[in-house]
C-alpha cells in the first residue's frame, strides 16, 4: 500500500534532467557503479540514467543494471530524476560524477 501511494505521488512530479561527463579512467566500472547505486538509493525519487539524452534508461538503484551499462570514460551520463527529493538527488549524482566517484 505504501508503494502504491509513493507511485501516485511520484507521478505528480516533473522529471528533472541533467548530464555530466564520466571522468574516471576506467569509466563506470564496479566500484563507481556501487557508489552510484548507493547514492541513488539514498533518495526516494525514481532515478534513471542513460548514455543518450533519449535513453534507453537504466534504473540507477540497481547495481547489476548499472554495471551492465559499461559506460566508458568520456561518456556523458544523462540523468532523469522524478520525485519529491529529485533536486537534491540530481545535485548529489552530478557531484559524484564530477568528482570521479572519489577516485579520479
Amino acid at each position: 500500500m505504501h508503494d502504491v501511494n509513493a507511485g501516485c505521488a511520484a507521478e505528480t512530479f516533473v522529471p528533472l534532467t541533467a548530464s555530466a561527463v564520466l571522468v574516471n579512467p576506467v569509466g563506470l566500472h564496479a566500484r563507481p557503479s556501487v557508489k552510484l547505486t548507493q547514492c541513488a538509493k539514498g533518495f526516494v525519487a525514481k532515478i534513471e540514467f542513460a548514455l543518450a539524452a533519449d535513453g534507453p534508461w537504466t534504473d540507477a538503484k540497481s547495481p547489476v543494471k548499472v554495471m551492465r551499462v559499461k559506460a566508458p570514460q568520456g561518456a556523458t551520463l544523462h540523468f532523469r530524476v522524478t520525485g519529491p527529493d529529485g533536486e537534491a538527488a540530481l545535485a548529489a549524482l552530478l557531484t559524484l560524477v564530477h568528482d570521479g566517484f572519489g577516485e579520479a
Binding site: 564496479a30 566500484r31 556501487v34 547505486t37 548507493q38 538509493k41 539514498g42 538503484k61 540497481s62 547495481p63 547489476v64 543494471k65
Partner: protein
C-alpha cells in the same frame, strides 16, 4: 569480521577456499563499506578445501541482523551445507536466512550494495540473482 550494529541485511560468504571467501569479503568491505554485517567461511574442518556446517553457522551468527542474512555460495557442498546450516537454526530464525543463486564474488558485492541502501532480504536476494537473469 563483522559489523553487527547495523540494521541492514547481513551477508555471509561461503566458499570451498578460505582464500576466496576472505578475498570476496575484502572486496565487499572496500567497494561497499562498513554499513553491512559481513562474515565469511571456507575450508573443511581439517583446513583443506571444502565447507563445514559449523563454520557456516558461526558465520551466520556473526553476520546476524534483524533484517535477515543472505548467503552467497560457490559450488555443490557450499550450497548443501549452507542449506543444512539454515535448517539447524532456531525455528524463528530460519525464515530470515536465504541462500542466493548467484556467483559468489559478484553476488556478494551486489547483495551488499543492495543491503547498504536498506533494502529488504527479498530485494537483496533478487538483486544478487539478477546476475544470472
Amino acid at each position: 569480521m563483522n559489523n553487527s550494529s547495523s540494521g541492514n541485511v547481513g551477508i555471509v560468504i561461503v566458499s570451498h577456499s578460505p582464500k576466496i571467501a576472505e578475498g570476496a569479503a575484502d572486496m565487499v568491505r572496500q567497494m561497499v563499506g562498513d554499513a553491512v554485517p559481513l562474515a565469511w567461511t571456507g575450508g573443511d574442518s581439517d583446513g583443506g578445501l571444502g565447507t563445514n556446517v559449523a563454520g557456516i553457522l558461526e558465520a551466520i551468527e556473526l553476520a546476524w541482523s534483524p533484517a535477515g542474512v543472505a548467503i552467497l555460495v560457490d559450488l555443490g557442498g557450499a550450497e548443501t551445507n549452507s542449506e543444512m546450516a539454515v535448517e539447524m537454526l532456531a525455528e524463528d530464525r530460519r525464515a530470515s536466512v536465504v541462500v542466493c543463486n548467484a556467483p559468489v564474488v559478484e553476488g556478494a558485492v551486489i547483495a551488499a550494495t543492495e543491503s547498504s541502501g536498506g533494502s529488504s532480504l527479498a530485494a537483496v536476494k533478487r538483486s544478487a540473482e539478477e546476475f544470472y537473469a
